[in-house]
Structures are given as structure tokens and as C-alpha cells.
Symmetry: C2
Subunit: 255 residues, 2 copies
């Protein structure tokens, strides 16, 4: 383990919480105990605890020791980015049928989103995503060519493996994303793939994702059956909002 002392302390505590060594509801070691453990002064120890507090992992306050609040902080970024990872985190089985993968010139809308010129080559991927074998979402993703060419390689099968896991292995840094939600009517393709009437309302997520420096790598137009998937924002006056994609088990799910 490297880095500053306070980060090592925080990392160690995070691991102990995640592994259940420090179960939910149990108190953390007191500051003075942590100081002894690490032969550190209170500065780095308090900095580490402050980081965990900001992540929502621990609570507590003056006079009482910090309490473990939750064993795992939700990871909204990965959850919103990868359909298959999200499905598995819910204990459901993701599936997919790749309908088309093509290298072609970018349309205007795509070029705008990816900050390239109209006509520049991009790699487009159209997939039907399934949840427990039920048609759930039609995904039309466009990658800039430098990233997309990795997907055209012969040793990658988009029906077997997560695209994002594969791209991460290849060194593609996807770490910022912007999701815009609206509603659209199902076009004939959507309707036949999702097994709904043409014109039925679909929840559309348009996503642009890219590197930390803001360079866009992918643009996607995803259309969900609203009776299967919803998106949720939890919001409090004095806290950071949390966002999540939610699966709707019953036809008329409650809020």
C-alpha cells in the first residue's frame, strides 16, 4: 500500500468494513486506538475518518465513537454505465443479442455528441438487452474509432463479455458520464425487439461517456421498457444526491 498515511488508514478501514470485519452497527476503534495501531498522530487518523464520513460509511459524533452505517457504498457510476454489472448486482441475469456492429461515417447528432466532424468514421453497435430473458432495452451505442476498433477485433464477442470490462482491460479510461433522460415513442424496430406496440412510450437515456479529461469516447441512445426499468434520484437538502437504475418487478410497482 502506498500513498499518504491518511489514505492508507482510510483504505484499511474501508477494507475491514467491506469484509465484515467491522459489521454494520458496530463502533470503529477510537481515535486513540487507531493512533496506536498506526503509530500516527490524530491528524491523519481524523483525516481518514473524515473521508469515510463523507462517503457515508460511518456515522457518530462528538462523545460517541463512529458507527459503521453501511458495509458498501453504492457505486452509481458503474451501476449507471454497465447494464450487465447492474443486472448482476441485483441478482438478475443479464442477456444480450448483438444485432449489428458496423464501422460507418458519423451522423450529425453523433458527431456533435462525440466532438468529431460529421463523416468521421465511428463504430456503431446495436444491441437488445435482456433481463432474465425478457426484452428490456434497445441500446444504440457509438464509439469513436480509436475505441471502436478494439470491439471489431476477433477475440472479442460482445454477447459473451461486458464491453466496459473489455475496454478497461485495453486501457480505455471511461470515468465521466452524462445521462439525459426523456421519453420517446417506440419506432417499428424498437417495437418488434421489445415486443410492444409501435408508438408505445419508452424511457430514453442518452449517455455520453469519456475520459477524466473530458474527451468523449462513446455516445449511446438507450430505450427502456418503462414497465421493467426506472431511474431513481434520492435527494436531501444537505446531502449529495444519489442516483440508481431500478428494476420494476411487478407490472404496477409502487414508489
Amino acid at each position: 500500500m502506498e500513498g499518504p498515511l491518511y489514505q492508507r488508514i482510510a483504505e484499511d478501514l474501508r477494507r475491514r468494513i467491506a469484509r465484515g470485519d467491522l459489521p454494520v452497527g458496530s463502533p470503529l476503534p477510537s481515535e486513540s486506538q487507531l493512533c496506536e495501531e498506526w503509530a500516527a498522530s490524530r491528524g491523519p487518523v481524523r483525516q481518514a475518518l473524515s473521508a469515510l464520513r463523507a462517503e457515508g460509511l460511518i456515522g457518530g459524533g462528538r462523545g460517541r465513537p463512529p458507527i459503521v452505517r453501511t458495509s458498501q457504498v453504492p457505486q452509481p457510476f458503474q451501476t449507471l454505465l454497465s447494464f450487465s454489472r447492474w443486472a448482476r448486482s441485483l441478482g438478475r441475469t443479464p442477456g444480450q443479442r448483438t444485432l449489428e456492429i458496423a464501422r460507418r461515417p458519423a451522423r450529425q447528432e453523433v458527431a456533435d455528441a462525440l466532438a468529431i466532424d460529421e463523416g468521421d468514421f465511428v463504430v456503431e453497435l446495436v444491441r437488445l438487452r435482456l433481463l432474465d430473458d425478457r426484452p428490456t432495452m434497445v441500446e444504440r451505442t457509438t464509439f469513436v474509432e480509436s475505441v471502436g476498433r478494439l470491439l471489431l477485433s476477433f477475440d472479442f464477442d460482445p454477447d459473451k463479455r461486458s464491453i466496459y470490462a473489455y475496454l478497461a482491460d485495453q486501457g480505455v479510461d471511461l470515468s465521466v458520464a452524462r445521462h439525459v433522460f426523456d421519453a420517446v415513442a417506440a419506432d417499428p424496430t424498437d417495437a418488434s425487439l421489445l415486443e410492444i406496440p409501435e408508438g408505445a412510450p419508452l424511457l430514453r437515456e442518452r449517455r455520453r461517456a469519456g475520459s477524466a479529461s473530458g474527451e468523449p469516447y462513446e455516445y449511446s441512445d438507450d430505450r427502456y421498457r418503462p414497465d421493467v426499468v426506472t431511474f431513481t434520484i434520492e435527494n436531501a437538502e444537505q446531502a449529495h444526491p444519489s442516483v440508481a437504475r431500478a428494476w420494476r418487478p411487478a407490472p404496477t410497482g409502487s414508489l
Copy 2:
């Protein structure tokens, strides 16, 4: 000004930034200067700067002074809660036509959301919301009776004043909310009010808001014209997500 020193320092800096005394892009006073100003040690000063950094107000790093990044931190909670406040923050003119305000027994779905029994009395409010006189959203809001009775009072006109501002004055503490997004087809009422064909896709936000202790006060079913309003989530791997309601000026807005 009261409270701990570091909070007073942070508050003072926030005010200086908000008032334009420290414009966007300009460097803050160095830590040592702040120490002199406040006759404080580096501890509280750094704690204050750290708070501003967490709020996204300032940037900077080792070796370079902190830079003002933005003069006002977005307030996603209020922005998502109050339509009129959101509209005004965009420089647009909100409008509204109250179609119905009634005291009646709760339906099943509403009772579930408000954690009351079916048949308990609630106050329902149906409003058409306008943006620059264009029909934008149909809002069907239900309040628990203790809150709703405030709206039935004669000295409140829902077409003149923000409901949330009024309720806040009356001591109603709305500070946590949960928003669930999906898509629905416009029913005949939606269609005629929003001036769209029946069956057209609408972006639906179902919102439950309540007190900090989790007691629900209102449940709302809001249906937006997707060509006017979208919702956006900005997401980064190592940062808290930010959420916003967005106005779509052009018929085919870009991402």
C-alpha cells in the same frame, strides 16, 4: 457570526465569492494570508478551504493557490422540488393553472406512497404548469391532510405563489425527496392540457417528499412534455453525482 472558527472562515469566503468580491477564476488569498486575516493557525483555515473544495466552489492544488471555480453552487434539491424556482433560475417565466384542489379519501397507490391507510383523507391538487406560456407539465400532487389543509386556507392562492415557499413559511419541513422516472402514454386529460396527441410519450416523474425524519408529506405524479424538459445526471467515477432538470430550447436539442 457564531460557531467554530473554521465555519466562520468558510462562511465568509462563501459570501465573498457569492457577492463577486472574489470573481470566478481568481485566486483565493493564500493560506498564510487567511491565517493573518483571522489571526488563526493553518488548521481552521485548511478546514474551511476543504469544505469549499468539497462543495465544488474552489479548485487548485499543491503549489498553486485555490481558484474560484463557480460563484454559486447548484442547489439540486430545491431545483428538483420546485418547478417555479427552477424556471426562474433559468431566467424563464413559470406559469400555472390550478385545475382542481380537493379533499378526498386516498387511493391505494397514494396511500402506499404516503404511508397512510387507504381512505384516509388527503388533499389533491391538479395543476398545469407553463414555461413562457407553453404547456409543459401536468402535476397531480397529493398532500397528507395535516399539510394539505394549509393549502385550502383562503389566504393562499396556488396560482400566485409557490406552494413550497408557502409551506416553508408555515413550518412544514420538506427536506428529503425521492424521484422515480419512467415514461407513460398521454391519457386524454394529459393530451388536451399539454396540446399533444393522445398516447404521445410523456416523461413521468413520481416524487415523494417529506421531513428529514422520513415522514412523507407529499406524493406527486408529474408528466412532462419530453420535447420541453429533460433530466440530467452528471456522473464521475470518484465524485458525487449531480442531478438537474433541463429545459430544451430547440425541438431537437443536442446532448
